[in-house]
């Protein structure tokens, strides 16, 4: 999901919130029937007249079709598709392109991270997240792992990754999670 999608979500929600608040106040005042001009029976005559015009079917049908297409585009933009294509490396120019499969490189970094004591498994990929190109490594760690040691190992792997890709615009995200099953200790009470 892109930042644009979230921005659209927020803007439309904000707009609908204002409409609901304003509409709610008007409805409440109308229900009390004591404050001009919100008194008396509801008069939808002007709207009814508009629906009789010759342009009405085109206007309402066209608007409906546009809304439908926008809604489908908006709905599909919520699908989690964060992967990116090959990464351009230094040296890319008019003479040719130098590309690397970011996911494969990140996966190799994950294999290196797996060598850090306390890390049970790891996998890596490159994705777009919150406007950044992120090399993401997910690692499962032992419950008694040395966190500082793992962070230090992640630093080294990160520097290797930077060294290999030679790109300064990539950022790193090593997401640790405790392994579901703890195989490391037995306790005697």
């Amino acid at each position: 999901m892109s930042r644009l999608t979230i921005t659209v979500d927020r803007c439309v929600a904000f707009l609908l919130a204002l409409i609901l608040i304003f509409g709610g106040i008007v409805t409440t005042v109308w229900g009390v029937d004591r404050v001009d001009p919100f008194t008396g029976a509801l008069d939808l005559g002007p709207v009814a007249e508009a629906t009789d015009k010759s342009w009405w079917p085109w206007a309402v049908g066209g608007t409906g079709a546009v809304l439908l297409l926008l809604a489908l585009r908006w709905l599909f933009s919520h699908l989690p598709r964060r992967g990116i294509g090959p990464l351009k490396l230094a040296g890319t120019g008019r003479a040719g392109r130098l590309l690397a499969d970011g996911n494969s490189v990140a996966q190799a970094a994950a294999v290196a991270l797996k060598g850090v004591p306390g890390v049970r498994s790891a996998h890596g990929r490159v994705l777009r997240e919150r406007g950044q190109t992120v090399a993401r490594l997910d690692a499962s760690i032992d419950a008694d792992a040395d966190l500082a040691g793992i962070a230090e190992g992640a630093d080294i792997v990160s520097s290797q990754l930077r060294h290999v890709l030679g790109r300064d615009d990539l950022v790193c995200q090593v997401q640790l999670r405790l392994a579901a099953r703890d195989q490391t200790r037995a306790r005697v009470h």
Binding site: V12, I21, A48, T51, G61, W74, V171
Partner: protein, 209 residues
């Protein structure tokens, strides 16, 4: 890429993996790392609201297309908008409009907060030169385990917010020191966090469930 090769400085925490190929010069510990990514965040309520609003927009689109076709005589049936106008036209003010209006205002205020609130963080950062993160639930597990390992503690539970953690331990007997011991153990375990939570320890004498 592989784990750092023998040229790597000693004591880096990364094991040495024998390499069959030519020696590779890996960056040392002070080599520049990739910058830290933004802290991971969850989808949040705004995503659910966004999907619902998109579906609502789609429903409005269906109504528009239907009414365009029905009003143009392309399909049989009456325009839904005309039916709606007939239902509400001439409606007189009544008591039910007050609770409906109040409900609309409340729904609007809720939607307003959802629209402007930040999405929830799903991770806390460890101290590192690059971005290393732990899930809050895992931080609680680590704290509970550290407390559980203190002599005299039979069970431990941890609840936490973004900045504070409350450790509740059941102990076999409180000698007045055990609370401090638990606090020290948990603080040491969470010392690697970039912003360790403020700790509160509560002891209770009893038998673990």
């Amino acid at each position: 890429m592989s784990a750092p090769a023998p040229e790597q400085p000693a004591g880096s925490g990364v094991p040495v993996v024998p390499s069959s190929g030519p020696p590779v010069r890996w960056p040392d510990q002070q080599a520049p790392v990739m910058p830290q990514a933004k802290t991971p965040i969850g989808a949040g309520r705004i995503t659910v609201v966004g999907i619902a609003l998109a579906a609502l927009t789609g429903a409005l689109g269906v109504i528009g297309v239907h009414d365009g076709l029905a009003s143009g005589g392309i399909i049989d049936g009456r325009s839904w908008i005309d039916s709606g106008i007939d239902t509400f036209d001439g409606l007189k003010p009544s008591w039910w409009a007050v609770p409906v209006g109040v409900a609309m205002v409340l729904a609007g205020l809720w939607l307003l907060t959802v629209a402007v609130l930040r999405r929830p963080r799903t991770a806390v950062a460890l101290t590192s030169r690059t971005g290393v993160f732990l899930r809050p639930a895992d931080v609680r597990k680590l704290a509970a385990r550290a407390a559980d390992d203190v002599d005299g503690v039979t069970s431990a539970q941890v609840s936490s917010s973004r900045r504070a953690a409350k450790v509740t331990v059941v102990v076999t007997g409180d000698d007045g020191r055990i609370g401090q011991d638990v606090q020290d153990a948990v603080a040491e375990r969470l010392a690697a966090l970039q912003s360790p939570p403020r700790l509160t320890v509560k002891t209770r004498t009893g038998v673990a469930p």
